[in-house]
Assembly symmetry: D3
Homo-oligomer: 157 residues x 6
């Protein structure tokens, strides 16, 4: 099996998707940020009022997803038709889970867009609360499911 | 304790660092990508030859770190003086650990630059090997240490 | 009536246009910059010779329109097929009116692209003449007309 | 009097600020968006709950201000030390006024950064409410005051 | 004959390609960097081991090609379906030739994307070896061939 | 002699300039575009009137120079204090020579900014006249001189 991003001279390339079919593609990715109780309470109670930490993270996730082909060298430029974010409050951890759903009618999948959105959103939470807790950990960034395209459906087992 | 990125009306702002001193600042962050044995072997053996997956990740990490203030809404634009990447082969996991060190002589810290570099670098590894393994997990993105500035030295315990 | 950019949890999202039809879409927007007689004369007479202030503004408007989805958080990335700029000399104001026409064959409208082009173009005029007049005012940025898409034709009354 | 952005051949250039002093510079700019009562009420009541339209606009204004030197051709890249946004509810208009304050210790002023932030923030409000009201007008974008640098203090009369 | 990027008032515009057909388009461009024997040997022998100068150049070429519509004012945003790079070792010059192939299914050609990729890739080689040789010359950047679109096939004579 | 952009593991890095002195740095670079008589006449006569091809190229060169650290992977972000462009009409070639002068008070040189500006400016000329002549060649992109920094003055022999 070969890595599709490396050509026969082991030079990176942006793989040719010109002959792929245009299909509806959806990818859902998620990730978690773990933090101290103090940091969690500040964000959660603040969100009860106006929630700007989490809303800033959502906006950053959406804008980050749109920058995927600029950031990840071998990614194709895509015209995303939808980006949607959800946040779960993980009181027991404590921390937050960010879920990003990206959609496209196109020739290549949107896994990287969903994963990049998750990463940028979680980094934004880190940035906005780091004065309180520098030891936060971003973890469990993964693809939850994808559909569309030749490789078909993937659902994390 | 207040979140420094929220003003008195709970609106996000980019905090004023105009009166902070210019000091030498260093931040080291790291993160891990876990993968299947097959994916690991393909990257590792390829690196034994020319290693373009990991080198592409290093380049993406450096370029991503430079985009931090574009990606993270409340981050200040900074003139990084150095970005350095190291990669550890974690044969037993299996997977790879990416460590990014960012430096600056400036008025605010470079934690976010190091963390953003780590995130983009690991996403790049994911992208280049995802045809082989979609279940990879990016995890343990954290600040290892920082120095410089009023808050002084931080070393993860 | 609901705001389409806010989901049921009042979190911003990038609305799903995946099921919209691809139609030809055109949007025309305009805006005005008012200035002192001295500033106006410098630009107008200079344009009589080589006109670089207005031409720089036109180029900035075109490049700015292409950055719309990067700048406006909930905007979709689009593949504009045409951007055209016109400038009217408003001798009596005195000032200039910038009109930007954006076109697309796609699933969502190009109003924001036209409006963003107008804004960036007028800011560029401000920048290039601000040494002479800091009191200039950018005003009357509005959508003049649009066509295409489900909501059909709009012409300012 | 000459335009400083045009050299002796009437070609645009980025003026040399190398010999200017580093001083603390502050600029305050503002602008207004006028809208229908229905659009105003939707934003205002929504903000009473969670306010994401205005908070999204604030975030876009901050990120837009950081892109000034990319958007405005003759602007110098700057390392802003602070960006702060305020929004006034203009119930009688009805509409909203966005005020952006930008700060820098540097060799050139930050008027364009404040003005660009205002423009992008107001465009974002337009984008998020345009499904309800396409006839909104962005107006009165102006410099309110500036300080620092050789040209000294400016306060709109 | 008229220049298509200038409208009837000699103002630049982004030409309307809305009515053009979607066809498969391919462009191949190339360019050369000439250098001292010492610089050449360092790159070539290093490439024999791990080759990061040339691989960094390839990655930069790919990422640069994706930025074409941001960099070249009148270029349309495009969704490239493939970018591929080749490097020839010109031992006798000495120097290197970089060849970039860009592909698209779209309404306008990809010559500028291929040429921009070549330019950015060669500049990256310059950057990475300039400590050894400042007198390098980048030369012979040209379109080798293109196909697709109304103007049909072009092959350099 | 080692390449400064490769660390001991042959991984690219952004070299540490933190301990370098802040000095005034100037770099002058140039390049040439050769074209058919027809293409040359169209640009030159047009410039006699309003010159937008060359002025668009100048603006693109300035904006491109500001993007250098985004485009060239190992380049440091810099705060250029000046960018100036000159164009020579080479009637006999025929073609045009673009000269870009970049200035900075900083810790690292601005050669790459001047060279990138030249490249983007010449590509812009190519783009705007390519409907008339696809066989144009961009050539002789080189550093003409630099001053400032530890390595001192360089003047092409």
């Amino acid at each position: 099996m070969n890595l599709t991003h490396l050509d026969q001279n082991d030079r990176p390339n942006m793989v040719d998707v010109g002959d792929k079919e245009v299909t509806k593609r959806v990818a859902v990715a998620s990730g978690i940020i773990k933090m101290s109780q103090e940091a969690y309470d500040l964000i959660a109670s603040n969100q009860a009022k106006k929630g700007p930490v989490l809303q800033t993270a959502v906006i950053a996730a959406i804008q980050g997803a749109k920058q995927t082909s600029t950031l990840i060298p071998m990614c194709h430029p895509l015209m995303l038709t939808s980006i949607k974010c959800d946040i779960e409050h993980l009181e027991d951890l404590p921390g937050f889970k960010l879920i990003v759903t990206a959609k496209l009618s196109g020739k290549t999948g949107v896994e990287m867009e969903a994963l990049t959105g998750v990463s940028i959103g979680l980094l934004t939470i880190y940035d906005m609360i780091k004065a309180v807790d520098k030891s936060m950990i971003i973890t469990d960034i993964m693809l939850d499911k994808k559909s569309g395209g030749k490789s078909g459906e993937y659902v994390r087992g």
